[in-house]
C-alpha cells in the first residue's frame, strides 16, 4: 500500500506537470514512476487506515481556516502549552501515516507537532490556549 501511494503521487505530479493526458505521455510517466527507486522497507499500512488519515487531513483544512479567523480576531493569548497526543497506531506506524498525522496537527494554526516520541507512541504537540477559547 505504501509503495502504491508513492507511485500514485509520482504519477499525479507527472500528469499535473505535463498537463497532457495522451496515452504515450501517461505511459512515460508510469515508466518513470516505476523506475525511480522505491523505499526498500515499508511498514504495513491498511487502506482503511490510509483513507481515514487522508480524510482527517482534508477535513483539517476548513478547521484550519476557522481557527485562523479565531486566532486573528482574539488577540488575548493566555498561554502556550506543550502536551502529548497519543498516536492512534501505537509503535511502528507507517511513515505515510506519520506524515499525514504531522500534517494534520501542524496545518491547524492552534497546534504544531514537535516530534514523535516514546518509540512512536505519541506526538509532542505545542498548542496555543486563549482566554475566550471555548471547547
Amino acid at each position: 500500500m505504501s509503495r502504491l501511494i508513492v507511485i500514485a503521487l509520482r504519477m499525479l505530479i507527472w500528469l499535473l506537470l505535463s498537463a497532457d493526458p495522451e496515452l504515450l505521455n501517461v505511459a512515460i510517466g508510469l515508466a518513470v514512476s516505476l523506475a525511480l527507486p522505491l523505499p526498500r522497507r515499508v511498514r504495513a499500512l491498511s487502506p482503511g487506515q490510509f483513507w481515514r488519515a487522508l480524510g482527517e487531513s482534508v477535513t483539517a483544512l476548513p478547521q484550519a481556516y476557522s481557527q485562523a479567523a479565531r486566532l486573528l480576531l482574539h488577540r488575548r493569548l493566555e498561554e502556550s502549552v506543550v502536551h502529548d497526543e497519543p498516536a492512534r497506531v501505537g509503535g511502528r506506524a507507517s511513515s505515510v501515516l506519520v506524515f499525514l498525522d504531522v500534517f494534520r496537527i501542524t496545518l491547524t494554526p492552534f497546534t504544531i507537532a514537535l516530534g514523535l516520541e516514546g518509540g512512536g507512541r505519541r506526538y509532542r504537540v505545542h498548542e496555543l490556549v486563549f482566554e475566550e477559547k471555548e471547547r
Binding site: I13, L15, L16, L17, A19, A64, Y65, A68, L71, L72, L77, S80, F99, V102, F103, T106, L107, P109, F110, I112, A113, L114, G115, E117, G118, G119, R124, H126, L128
Partner: protein
C-alpha cells in the same frame, strides 16, 4: 427575458468568477499581513510559528485559489503549486518547530 439571461450565462459566470477571485486574493493578502504582523512582536518562537502558518500556508492557499478562478486554463500547474505549497509549508513549519526543541531523553 430568461432566454437572454441563459444566453448570457457564460458571461455571468465569468463575472462571478472574477469577483470571487478578487475576494479570495484580498483575503489571502489580509491573511498574509495579519499573520506576519506578530512576527515583529515579542512572542515566543513557537507562537510566532503558529501565526506564520496562517500567513504562509493558509493565506497563500487562498491566493492560489483566487488565481485558479482567474486563469482556469492553467489549472494543472496551479493545482500542483497549491498542493506543493500547502504540504511544503506545513511540513517546513513542523521541521522548524521540531528543530527548536532540545533533544529530550527517552
Amino acid at each position: 427575458m430568461s432566454g437572454a439571461l441563459l444566453a448570457d450565462a457564460p458571461g455571468v459566470l465569468a463575472a462571478l468568477a472574477q469577483g470571487a477571485s478578487a475576494v479570495l486574493l484580498g483575503l489571502g493578502l489580509l491573511f498574509w499581513f495579519a499573520g506576519s504582523w506578530p512576527l515583529l512582536g515579542r512572542a515566543s518562537y513557537l507562537t510566532k510559528l503558529h501565526y506564520l502558518g496562517i500567513s504562509d500556508t493558509l493565506g497563500s492557499a487562498l491566493m492560489l485559489l483566487g488565481l485558479l478562478l482567474r486563469f482556469q486554463r492553467e489549472w494543472p500547474l496551479l493545482v500542483l503549486a497549491l498542493l506543493s505549497l500547502v504540504v511544503w509549508n506545513t511540513i517546513f513549519g513542523y521541521v522548524l518547530a521540531a528543530c527548536s526543541q532540545p533533544r529530550r531523553r527517552p
